[in-house]
């Protein structure tokens, strides 16, 4: 099960934060900060998994992350998820963002909240497109969709 999805830039500025467990806001910020420091000191070509920090989960949880240009995508998951599966999910997630924004970059996440795009609603998930299946397979279709809804905030007809 996915506990949290964090996206922040190279300076640790959060761009997209979604927790699936209730935390008070200060703790959330602390978690983002802690996670940032954990991944920041890691080279790009070492492994994408690391043990969760002290705040979220503990030893049963793993952080699985990818680094794209200026953004870190970090998923915090428990031991019931396949590590490689989540790694792939991140890739699919970014690809989907890319599709929506056309060449997604950090600025899109900040500024183009209003950009008009059909934000991955049911239609796409049903479309038996292998990609979206991916998402539902890791039972996160909802999750992803929700982030999109949240952070692209505003959708259209």
């Amino acid at each position: 099960m996915i506990q949290a999805i964090l996206v922040f830039n190279n300076h640790g500025k959060p761009r997209l934060v979604r927790f699936y467990q209730r935390f008070p806001e200060e703790i959330q910020q602390q978690i983002v900060r802690e996670t940032f420091h954990l991944v920041l000191k890691r080279d790009d070509n070492i492994c994408n998994f690391l043990e969760g920090g002290s705040l979220i989960g503990g030893s049963d949880y793993k952080l699985i992350y990818r680094h794209y240009a200026t953004l870190y995508f970090v998923f915090c998951v428990d031991s019931s998820e396949s590590e490689l599966g989540i790694l792939d999910l991140i890739q699919v997630f970014v690809e989907t963002l890319d599709k929506c924004f056309e060449n997604v970059c950090e600025l899109d996440l900040i500024f183009h909240m209003d950009k008009k795009f059909p934000a991955l609603p049911e239609g796409k998930i049903q479309g038996a497109n292998a990609r979206e299946l991916q998402m539902s397979e890791v039972h996160s279709a909802q999750i992803c969709r929700h982030i999109f809804l949240l952070d692209s905030a505003l959708l259209t007809e």
């Binding site: 590590e83 500024f111 909240m113 209003d114 049903q126 259209t156």
Partner: protein
């Protein structure tokens, strides 16, 4: 849903957002937002009814403003209105707003639930999905209460669309995870299992996720899923990469579904049906074979998908642990990955191999990779991978390679990351002890540990080396010599001084013959470190000095001079001062014989679970040490390397700090010297039953001895002997059995269960309490196959009768074998009480009368009446109860895993109301209640602060009566 070209949609919204973005300053932004809020407010309040489009637009704006970090206090009603719109986008925005902004205690919740209900019943798949997603996204208990019963129906209904089924399965999963008790099991469970056969792969995937979670609680209900999962898996695995078309991901057929199916199978033991098992083994072999094929694509997605299945397959093989052939193949496959250039695969391979190492079939195969793993430990650039390598070395260690592994880990320790040093220290210490062939090597290893990473050597580690040295006389001389040499280093770690001080104090005489380590030299060496050490170490050294006086009378004058020095006798630290004064007096008053008795060598420590292992388990959670605990590989190790108990025990060793070194135990009193003093020091060391006052042969023992050969004539004797044992009068109630308190503790937070059980008799309890009254049903079950007469008597002992009234009919009945008899008790609490009433039970078995006395599970907290109050009230009352005697506080270690939900349940079971939003720290629990007795009411406030990091709790109780505070505090503290 039609895709929309750019430029369509809500222009007003786009303008607003670009205005915000163009704001030059924070002030400008706030100004713009306030203007917009005013505008929206007037529109919502206006006379003109808004159409759906405008409502949607304004709700969107509000949402955007909220996401910018501003509070929104209106517009909820309009959003709820959108829910009943027939337009998809309007409904969607409504749901979005609800899931982001509406909290559970809103008054609108009824309207929202109504709208959701309508959508669920609408038969329009899109609307149903929207509603389901909203339920899942909110996922609160209230949502669960409202809809948990409906969703299973939608999930298994024959006419639900695939997409709806999929969403329903995931939604149910989410609700189940949030509050498992709300999801009723029922006839739908069987039908959910059949979703594994569904045509639609998405439905199957969602169903597997759901079943995997549900079957953990009720494995039997879902047992049929095994064969279905196997056949599904086999169809996927054997299909060509083109068969599944849309579900083929980079040439791998339905990889994520396969992964999930393999995970599901890991919830169960290997299939019993030979045909199913054969099919599954075939699948597993196919996956292993495919791993050897050349990749069909160079894309990382292809290899990731393929390897995800492979790793899951290997996990399943390890889980079954029954196919030697597959295990070895799995091991070889992982061995290949150990050298793979992808770091991720190396990491996962090390992790899987760690579990593989504990299987007897593959342990040897894993060992062949030792050089690769050691190399990984040395050369990996990534700390995560190095950590895994260290774990694997620990798991693959046995007597044959222990020396090599320990020396490698020691070497790694010098450069290891600070974060994992302590763990490595613990692991080295455990391996060194467990696989030590000769103890000189063990002592060397531990001293090396202290030298290399002294700061990370926790108390447990050096206590342990002392325990072992004390218990084994063949190593004492060597240990003394080694620590003496180690102490000669100009700078040595304080832990080294502690170990050195203790060992020389005990066994310094063994090396005193050598002029290089003569007593004066030993003393001056130790004393040269004295001033650099902390108080605790100095205290330990003072004890060493007094031991020296006994071992080496020639040093007496020197040591007495040291003790007499102003810096000791008038030391600001109370402990040091006391020791100096008492030791000085002891050494001058007591005769040599007395001294020799008081300061005798410490007796061997009782064998118990290694304190280090207990610590590692605490650090890593249960199962961490399992590779070593099971003792399967090396059963002979235990007796040789005494100390490490093979049985994994979750009970941590009581901290030996006080007993081992006597730092906190009272120093030997000078006046009545001799053995009393020594006994005082030792009594804590023997934490066994010897210290308990003997209660005579317990009934339990009597039962056990009775059990073995049921004398052939006994049933006859029973039936033929109707003469009852004399009815026990109230004064006949014997002392409660030793475990009575423990049994009682189990019932502090619950009312029903089994109070007592042995081979002959089971006593069950059902009880309910209201105000100051309670009713309890006791069920006595005769577990033997013979009829027996059971007599009971219960009541509050002695003076308790004025506090608690218990009315019952005495049971005196003939109970057939396997039957049970019931007893009803009416209980009234007159005043607050501390001791529970007693229950005495007598019966005959095999001609012998049996008796046992239990404590009835009636504790003061049963008469709690939960009280809800607001934070303000709570704090006001908390302040009113500020007298020191009204408060009882306890800080204690967690005995159970620290789970917030479990804690909550326990506190509720304890009887108090749980108050949310009172404590500023949400991790803490705050409760309030009133204890109802006939004579008076006792208001009671409690606060429980868990500290997950330290695995400790702090519990504070404030009540208006002092003994009640203390008693409640003690009762509750034992529950965590």
């Amino acid at each position: 849903m039609p895709a929309v070209s750019k430029g369509d949609g809500m222009r007003g919204l786009a303008v607003f957002i670009s205005d915000i973005r163009n704001c030059k300053s924070k002030e400008a932004e706030i100004k713009r937002i306030n203007k917009e809020l005013a505008n929206i407010r007037s529109k919502f309040k206006g006379d003109k009814a808004l159409d759906g489009y405008s409502k949607k637009k304004y709700v969107c704006k509000l949402l955007f403003i909220f996401l910018l970090g501003h509070d929104i206090d209106f517009g909820h009603m309009e959003a709820v209105n959108l829910l009943s719109s027939n337009k998809y986008t309007e409904k969607q925005i409504g749901y979005l707003f609800i899931s982001v902004l509406v909290n559970s205690n809103s008054e609108l919740i009824r309207l929202i639930n109504n709208a959701i209900k309508n959508d669920l019943a609408s038969r329009n798949p899109t609307f149903m999905c929207l509603a389901l997603h909203c339920i899942a996204n909110v996922g609160s208990r209230e949502m669960g209460e409202a809809f948990a019963a409906d969703i299973p129906r939608i999930l298994v209904a024959g006419d639900s669309m695939d997409s709806v089924k999929q969403s329903a399965a995931l939604c149910l999963l989410r609700l189940y995870k949030a509050s498992p008790d709300l999801v009723p099991m029922g006839e739908w469970t069987a039908r959910v299992v059949h979703l594994l056969n569904d045509q639609h792969m998405g439905v199957v995937t969602a169903a597997v996720s759901l079943i995997t979670c549900l079957c953990k609680k009720n494995p039997d209900d879902f047992k049929t899923c095994i064969s279905l999962a196997v056949s599904r898996l086999s169809r996927i695995v054997s299909s060509a990469s083109t068969d599944l078309q849309d579900y083929t991901y980079y040439f791998v057929p339905a990889p994520w579904l396969s992964v999930k199916l393999l995970r599901l199978l890991q919830c169960y033991p290997p299939p019993e049906d030979a045909a199913v098992k054969g099919r599954l083994v075939e699948c597993l072999e196919t996956v292993l074979n495919k791993a050897q094929e050349p990749p069909k694509s160079k894309k990382v997605q292809h290899s990731n998908a393929k390897n995800a299945i492979l790793f899951e397959t290997i996990s399943l093989i390890i889980h079954y642990d029954s196919e030697p052939n597959l295990l070895v193949r799995a091991c070889n496959q992982l061995g290949q990955f150990l050298q793979h250039r992808e770091t991720n695969l190396r990491y996962l391979a090390l992790e899987s191999m760690c579990t593989l190492a504990s299987s007897e079939f593959s342990h040897e195969a894993v060992k062949t990779h030792i050089d690769t793993v050691i190399n990984a430990l040395k050369t990996e650039r990534d700390v995560s991978v190095r950590q895994r390598a260290a774990d694997l070395l620990y798991a693959m260690c046995d007597r044959s390679n222990a020396k090599q592994i320990v020396s490698e880990m020691l070497r790694y320790l010098e450069t290891a990351d600070y974060a994992i040093r302590e763990e490595i220290v613990l692991k080295v210490a455990i391996l060194a002890e467990k696989y030590a062939v000769d103890y000189s090597w063990y002592v060397d290893t531990i001293l090396n540990l202290i030298r290399i990473a002294g700061d990370y050597v926790s108390e447990e580690v050096w206590y342990r080396v002392l325990q072992i040295v004390t218990n084994r006389d063949d190593v004492q001389g060597y240990a003394a010599k080694t620590v003496f040499e180690a102490l000669q280093a100009p700078a040595c770690h304080e832990n080294m001084v502690k170990v050195g001080g203790y060992i020389l104090g005990e066994f310094g005489n063994l090396i005193a013959g050598d002029p290089r380590s003569s007593p004066p030299v030993q003393f001056s060496l130790l004393h040269s470190k004295f001033h650099l050490c902390s108080v605790a170490t100095r205290a330990l050294l003072l004890s060493t000095y007094i031991k020296f006086i006994n071992l080496f009378p020639e040093t007496k004058a020197t040591i007495q001079a040291v003790l007499r020095a102003g810096s000791q006798l008038r030391n600001a630290d109370v402990e040091l001062q006391q020791r100096a004064v008492e030791y000085l007096t002891l050494s001058s008053v007591a005769s040599t014989d007395v001294l020799a008795t008081v300061l005798e060598e410490m007796p061997p420590f009782p064998e118990r679970e290694s304190s280090i292992l207990a610590k590692l388990k605490r650090k890593k959670g249960p199962g961490a040490g399992s590779a070593l605990d099971d003792g399967r590989r090396d059963p002979s190790s235990n007796d040789i390397n005494g100390g490490v108990e093979p049985t994994p025990s979750t009970v941590s060793t009581p901290s030996p700090s006080a007993d081992l070194l006597g730092l906190r135990a009272a120093p030997p009193p000078a006046a009545p010297p001799a053995s009393a003093g020594a006994g005082n020091l030792l009594v804590d060391v023997f934490d066994g039953p010897a210290a308990q006052p003997s209660l005579g042969p317990t009934p339990e023992e009597a039962f056990l001895s009775e059990l073995e050969p049921p004398a052939p004539e006994s049933p006859m004797a029973l039936l033929a002997d109707p003469a009852p044992a004399a009815d026990p009068g109230p004064e006949d109630i014997g002392p409660p059995i030793p475990e009575a308190d423990e049994l009682l503790n189990k019932f502090v937070c619950k009312n029903n269960g089994v109070l007592f059980e042995n081979q002959l008799l089971q006593i069950g309890v059902k009880s309910e309490f209201r105000q100051n009254l309670g009713r309890m049903y006791l069920f006595y079950g005769n577990k033997t196959s013979y009829s027996s007469r059971i007599l009971t008597h219960c009541g509050p002992p002695g003076d308790l009768q004025t506090h608690l009234a218990v009315q019952t009919k005495r049971v005196a009945a003939q109970v057939d074998g396997g039957a049970q008899v019931q007893q009803v008790l009416n209980i009234e609490c007159l005043r607050d009480f501390l001791t529970p009433p007693l229950l005495s039970v007598r019966f005959r078995y095999g001609g012998t009368p049996q008796a046992l006395t239990l404590k009835l599970p009636v504790t003061i907290n049963k008469f709690f009446q939960p009280t809800e109050m607001a934070a303000q009230d709570f704090f006001q009352r908390w302040k009113q109860l500020s007298l020191p005697q009204q408060e009882a506080q306890k800080i204690f270690k967690a005995n159970h895993p620290m789970d917030a939900e479990v804690t909550k349940a326990k506190l509720l079971g304890f009887g108090s109301a749980l108050l949310d939003n009172v404590d500023p720290n949400p991790e803490n629990f705050v409760g309030a209640g009133i204890i109802q007795t006939k004579a008076l009411q006792v208001g009671c406030l409690l606060r429980l602060e868990p500290n997950a990091q330290a695995q400790m709790y702090r519990l504070t109780l404030r009540t208006s009566k002092e003994p009640v505070s203390r008693h409640l505090c003690e009762l509750l503290a034992q529950q965590f």
